[in-house]
Amino acid sequence: MAFNSFEFILFFVACYIIYWLMISKQIKIQNLFLLLAGYVFYAWTNWHFLFYLIAFSAANFLIGMYMEQTNNSRTKQWLYYTALLLGAGGLAFFKYFNFFIDSFKDAFHLIGIGLNIHTLNIIIPLGISFFTFRTLSYIIDIQREEIKATKDWVIFFTYVSFFPSILSGPIDRAKTLIPQLEKKRSFSVNETIDGLSQILWGLFKKAVIADNCASYTNEIFDHYQTYQASTLVLGAFFYAIQLYADFSGYSDMAIGIARLLGFNITKNFDFPFFAENIASFWRKWHMSLTTWLTDYIFTPLNFTFRRLGKKGLFFAILINYTLCGIWHGANWTYILYGFLHGCYFIPLIIKGTVGKKQNMNNNSLFSSFIRFMNRMGTFILVMLTFVLFRADTIQQAFSFYARLFNTSVFSIPTIENSNLPLLTPVLFITAMLLIEWMQRTKEHALQFNRSGGLKSYSIALLYSLIIWSVILWGYSGNKTFMYVKF
């Protein structure tokens, strides 16, 4: 059930009415209702994995409880590793088993040994990477004594299956979401308007920008061998925008939906294409994953390698981002994608500016030329790595790169399919980026102070244009989100 589908609208409206009008005073019933809604939402696509989700939640809940209760540090340690094994093992089996087998066979094949090991026909449970990372953070935080294990199973199960974010994140931490589940939520008109605005912006990005860009990227990437370099550059540009608009659109909708239910969930994107360097980009792109990896992978690694100085920092970053790549899926393209991003940090490590945060609170419309060039440079570097994200194999990506760097890059891009005018998506992308640039200091692009006067009519006009754009140009053929497969 995708957020942009008719069935989800019906489902959510029914949930919303029951949630606020019928059971708003009883928090326990509200939580139980959210849990049931989460399971219905999850089971809608494939009910078989609901059992896995329930069993996985139950195991982690019990382990968390015993870790909290036990005074024996060895038992606690044992429980902790069991939970880690359970989470990582589940991920390894469902997402990476066949990849490991294939890579193992390929490696032996290279030295002339043919292995007769068969892969399995595995169907990956939807959202497994997201809910596994949620439970892992819960267990690690209990081990670190940063949070206490919850004794209320309904709250924990709801935390794992919280429907706005179960399929594609944001990856909420227990310390963010569980306290909100424990206390009473109150209805607020302002929060509702803000939530709806964020949903609208997410829908615009998904339906108008991402889905329409998909027609272009599919055409260009599917026939890249016949196109000149300038068209391939345009294809890579459209794909970068498509990926951003699709994923951040989903996140905006998830955050907006959670807001309508009275929750503030983790922000996932902070206008990443305005980042001036790669470190800043990762502080703005898929933030919930970045902070998760920073807290549980990078920081411990950096601590371990601290004696190696800058080299240690580089190793920690390289491992962190390679793992970030692997998280996306079992393919060498993702591994290389993560590895390249790790390598992009080298100049910052040498300059010692990895941790330096970029100031976005400058409200001026135009930034300085240097800052503009930094942004362009960062965008181009990121855009080039997204080719790996789109390619099925490393060979395909390299073949694309090989065609990219030649003199035809300076020619005017053309596309074979005359039904795809090139100027149209550029126009819409410019409008999207312009609105985001003007709103870059806000939580999301449609967050406004609703004061009276002429300004409120300008805002009404902007909202109207966005709503009509979704109605007229929202490509209704595609209902799936790109990050659901992760």
Partner: protein
């Protein structure tokens, strides 16, 4: 407060009106939709052979000409899987009677009765088809049908309304404004389409007027009948046979009562010609799960699977026809 709400609604409506007009003029993303399909003829191998005079009409071969609109042309479907190509491959596989089987697909999106007639006459002399398959669709009576009838009934209905009354009262000014509103047309068309999928027809909607043109025997249907009659006579005089496939609105298969009167009129017309083989597509798809054959629930075109089913059926009819000869 009410004033503010009024202005906000007004802004919303004006923005909608503007964007719809801009979209109509510049077709922003419109052309990459499945619903927007090419109205050009498909350049098939048969078409090229015909142009090169390489089809020997005196040899032992079977020549089938396909006419019709997007329903038979297969809008939104890969051309190798459309009706004509599937039919050709089935006939080539099963028939040993002929040295060659040519299926000349001259169907194209938006073709009406007049366009089909024009196409037929343009290629009939050269191709000399033994079988002409006409994919008939309800809206074949729409569009310009000859030089005398410039406008179809729906347009003339609109013209009468807009030109009525020389003296413009306020009510007429408002109704005139609403009549020309792109926003209203867009919204109403979409509502009509949506309601149709529940078996509801809005009175005086395009669909309603289209159905009425048959059972009220209006000028467009009368003209269509004349055109088809001419074609039937010409085909018969040239020792050919016309096969008419009336395409079903596949998304409305459960609501056949919507078409009952129009179907009665169409059947009655074709049944008066013994030389015409009339195939009612609705019967072919009777009892099936229509979801297996639709392209979109808002659209009546059949998908690839539907084209295959139809091709199988028609191939069997042609086979028995050839054996009988």
């Amino acid at each position: 407060m009410f004033k503010k709400i009024f202005f906000i609604i007004l802004i919303f409506l004006i923005a909608g009106e503007l964007l719809i007009r801009i979209d109509k003029k510049y077709l922003f993303f419109g052309e990459n939709r499945v619903t927007q399909i090419s109205t050009k003829l498909e350049i098939t191998p048969e078409y090229k052979l015909l142009l090169a005079d390489s089809i020997n009409v005196h040899a032992n071969n079977l020549r089938i000409m396909i006419l019709g609109d997007s329903y038979i042309h297969g809008g939104g479907i890969d051309f190798k899987n459309v009706f004509s190509q599937q039919l050709k491959s089935i006939l080539q596989k099963n028939s040993t009677q002929f040295n060659h089987i040519y299926v000349l697909d001259l169907s194209r999106a938006s073709a009406n009765a007049f366009d089909n007639q024009q196409t037929y006459y343009q290629f009939a002399e050269k191709f000399k088809p033994q079988i002409v398959i006409l994919g008939y669709n309800y809206d074949d009576v729409l569009g310009e049908l000859d030089q005398q009838i410039k406008k179809i009934s729906i347009d003339s209905f609109g013209t009468q309304r807009s030109s009525a009354g020389a003296k413009k009262t306020m009510a007429k000014k408002i109704s005139g404004f609403l009549y020309h509103s792109a926003l209203l047309k867009y919204v109403l068309t979409n509502i009509n389409t949506y309601l149709k999928t529940f078996g509801i027809v809005v009175p005086n909607s395009e669909f309603d007027l289209n159905m009425k043109s048959y059972y009220l025997n209006d000028s467009s249907w009368i003209q269509s009948k004349k055109i088809i009659d001419n074609m039937i006579t010409h085909i018969k005089n040239n020792n050919g046979r016309l096969m008419v496939i009336k395409f079903p609105e596949i998304n409305l298969l459960s609501y056949q009562n919507l078409f009952f009167k129009a179907d009665t009129a169409i059947h009655a017309f074709f049944q008066q010609y013994p030389s015409v083989t009339f195939i009612d597509g609705t019967h072919i798809f009777k009892g099936v799960n229509s979801n297996d054959y639709i392209l979109s629930r808002y659209d009546g075109h059949i998908n690839e699977k539907g084209h295959k089913k139809l091709a199988d059926y028609v191939a069997a009819v042609i086979d028995s026809m050839m054996k009988a000869q």
